[in-house]
Symmetry: C2
Subunit: 536 residues, 2 copies
């Protein structure tokens, strides 16, 4: 050996919390009036207490420990204590239906689950369906426990209170599993993606890199993306590894108090799905709030509409950076940052050719576009191809050895997305394969059309779905949520699209005004539900 044998993993990410970054703050906003604050030193000591408590439970190595929890400091302690004791952190989506929750808990064989007082009810309802769960830890002190329960419940604070606040650094082989996260399951059953200690470290480094989310010691990071959603895109592990301040917002927070939180905690980087930023933009506009510290908003999960990126740029002076990834890719795989020589492009061209793209992969991840025959598709700005991905933090199968066809492509994972590469080296997701509109042998990207329609003044949100057509096989239907007191006609939509470069044969010949776009548990457009809704 020439280099010291170092096992990559969560211990390495936590390594400087107590020794160098002890004085950095972690803030959790629980409600408009309640903001919990403590330091990295407190966090580390309490994580050590939790590690000692977990050791006392004597679970077998590699046992799954679930969290059904919001973004807050106790959940953060679980993020470290569980993998650092060689258990597997299984983050459960708090917005799942009871049936899906039971399915996933059983599939993962969770033995312990950490949950919030207000989410305990979801577990009580399925108590009989999840026999593997021996213990449920409720985030709070004994006062949050119910009088009776169908589960074996204990409070978080009573679990850790009498434990020592020191713990010996443990060397864990880097390919040991560390975290488990289920796909949202828009196609078939949810499937578990297992992250290792090594992939968790590598992903955190990529996330903190200037090509990723650029998270350093001078940042205050507010992940709006839930900690149950693919590890909050890696923002949490990246922040702790470099000693960035962390700010957590409990869900159901009003735009007003969310903006106040951004402002008062001097947040520099935040990240979440596009819909959040639409609401926040209106609030910033209404209150004329300035956020001079906010350097960057990372937007992921689905494509942010161009007008939204332009609005933040022009009205608030804030960059929206699009990131792309999937549960299977840890998730951060690419970001759309301008190359040095593209910084001076006219601003709308920059928006079109760079900022609205899916991006360029991070070093360590590779993407490829291929046609249905498996042949390489060129990055020429118009050819669509199936998107494949591989890399150092991409899973090679699903939990329990499930390895469907999507993993059998010379080491690549078939994402199920269709993408286009542009002449500047960036790629953009055109659609989920199943959402592409196949009209007369040609393909129409619903994502591009939605983006264009959302640029209309009258439109709050838009989704485009394919409906069967006898002559053309499929035709696009525009489903629109109007702004208050606004109205729009099919002809106006068609005119708008024509003026934005769409061909006549691509234009929708049906318009549906809807009250809301149905969404999946992770906030993506649920097109299956939408198609069934408008076909009734």
């Amino acid at each position: 050996m020439a280099i010291m044998n170092t096992q990559l993993g969560t211990w390495l990410l936590l390594d400087h919390a107590l020794t160098h970054n002890f004085d950095v703050e972690i803030v959790t906003q629980y409600s408009v009036t309640e903001r919990h604050r403590y330091t990295y030193a407190d966090m580390t000591k309490r994580s050590f207490q939790l590690m000692n408590a977990l050791d006392d439970l004597e679970l077998a190595k590699g046992s799954r420990v679930g969290t059904l929890a919001w973004n807050n400091y106790r959940h953060l302690e679980c993020y470290f204590a569980v993998p650092c004791t060689e258990l597997i952190l299984h983050t459960l989506n708090a917005r799942l239906s009871p049936e899906d929750l039971a399915f996933i808990i059983n599939d993962a064989d969770d033995e312990v689950i950490f949950t919030e007082p207000e989410l305990l009810d979801s577990l009580e309802k399925i108590a009989q369906l999840i026999p593997s769960v021996k213990l449920v830890i409720v985030m709070g002190d004994d006062s949050v426990l119910p009088e009776t329960s169908a589960l074996n419940v204990k409070s978080y604070e009573s679990l850790i209170r009498s434990q020592p606040s020191t713990y010996r650094y443990r060397e864990i082989e880097e390919n040991t599993p560390a975290g488990l996260c289920y796909t949202s399951g828009t196609t078939g059953q949810p499937k578990g993606a297992m992250y290792t200690h090594r992939s968790t470290y590598l992903h955190a480094m990529a996330c903190g890199s200037a090509a990723g989310m650029s998270i350093g010691p001078s940042d205050a990071v507010l992940p709006v993306v839930p900690m149950f959603h693919a590890n909050a895109w890696g923002m949490v592990y990246a922040a702790v590894s470099v000693g960035a301040k962390l700010v957590f917002a409990y869900p159901h927070l009003h735009p007003e108090s969310f903006v106040k939180l951004l402002q008062e905690e001097e947040v520099t980087v935040t990240g979440g799905v596009p819909t959040v930023w639409i609401q926040i933009a209106d609030e910033l506009h209404r209150t004329k709030t300035k956020l001079p510290h906010l350097r960057e908003i990372v937007s992921g999960g689905s494509q942010p509409p161009k007008p939204l990126i332009a609005r933040y740029r022009d009205e608030f002076g804030i960059s929206i950076v699009q990131a792309w990834g999937m549960t299977e890719t840890s998730p951060l795989a690419s970001t759309a940052r301008p190359k040095h020589h593209l910084r001076h492009l006219p601003k709308d061209q920059l928006l079109d050719e760079v900022l609205s793209q899916g991006g360029i992969p991070l070093p360590g991840v590779r993407v490829a576009l291929r046609d249905d025959q498996g042949d390489e598709v060129p990055f020429d700005g118009s050819s669509m191809g199936n998107l494949y991905v591989k890399g150092a933090w991409v899973v090679d199968s699903y939990f329990k050895g499930r390895s469907p066809e999507s993993f059998k492509n010379d080491g690549y994972f078939a994402t199920g997305d269709v993408a286009i590469g542009n002449g500047r080296g960036y790629f953009i997701i055109a659609d989920r394969t199943k959402d592409l509109v196949k009209s007369g042998g040609e393909w129409i990207s619903s994502v591009a059309m939605e983006g264009a329609i959302m640029g209309m003044e009258q439109v709050a949100e838009a989704a485009v779905v394919a409906m069967a057509d006898e002559k053309w096989q499929e035709r696009p239907v525009a489903c629109i949520v109007l702004k208050p007191d606004a109205n729009v006609t099919l002809e106006e939509v068609r005119d708008h699209l024509r003026s934005h470069g769409f061909q006549k044969w691509q234009l929708p010949d049906r318009l549906e005004i809807i009250s809301a776009v149905p969404r999946t548990s992770v906030g993506k457009f649920d097109k299956k539900a939408l198609r069934s809704q408008i076909s009734n």
Copy 2:
């Protein structure tokens, strides 16, 4: 396995150069009038040609290929082609004496050496002493070859010209050696530090992180630090991995044309030793040049004087970020960046407590302070301790299995530096152990005293060395290089130090005015030479 098996290494760093970053520029300034430009696509294709040429040489896997070269695009091609063909890139310091050069080439058993036309002479002089070298490649076309040579010489362009410009991605086991760099040898014989593919990738990611040098796609990076000096601190590999523009400056460039280069190429990040920035500051001042694109100067190798950091901050609006590391640590181990809550400190306090510190280690590296008995020394702002380091890109021995005592400390490397930790979690190098002044049983840090003396208006440079003293064992001597037409007395120096917090017993009682501080081949103060100079 849960995660795809991916071997970390130089192939992964080069992976997007052709597919995504083909249009990014690489610029080499050879002289005031000659600036070579080409793209990442050109670089990759020529690197592939060089890989094919290296394969044709049929060297055994792991053979050492030396480069005795300045910073330029051909050297960059070697940076990838050599390790990507499973050979070891051995960067030779172009400022070494012929004796040291011969020693190192022999110790490494270099079989091929790439060199510049103007450096060929150094090799000709030792041709009889380096029998392992079968071939010397001169950077240029056939016109740069000498008429006669004691070596087997060939021109770079003729070597690659007829080779195909494609090459198949090669999977290399990540613990395979990739690069070899010798320590500068201020203590004893130079020793080889061997980097692996894995450590090279991990170090590049750390270098590109916002906690490191924050190198992303929007940057233009100019490494002033030579590519023969610990891989240009990782700046080159980090830049290529994310598609940053690269700008190389040939040495002996006048401050005037160097500043022009920074300005015209819109450089955003640069890095080099403090002395460079002293010269450049005077040039910026003289010409009233603004560098609005230059976000950050990384300063390493030795501590930048505080007045220099303050001058860049106040006069030019540019941040100097101090980085610390050694050849044995790849080299980047820590940076001194303000934590979020320290950004608002009064500027001089920020300078004292953060910016002038050695920093906080990167995630993946750990430091420890210990006394001579091996007991932990606290980070209390005054206790000095021996600095130990370990981590994922720190070597565990020297080339050829040499493993001196410095590697035998529970997995830590003893740096030979003495450091102090401050109450905010940052550490600072107080001295090389052997440069500490031991007076009456107490320690005096020469580095801190030099920094303070360099704050005097009359002083261009200052070095403090210990001289033997009968009564006190050792006493500090202040050696000062004056600014033109300036003068200074011992009493003025003592008064200045007293007003900057030094104790009476620490003050030097001897002053030497010298014309220049002698330097080692990597530009550090050569205190051994200085001590012998002033004792004569």
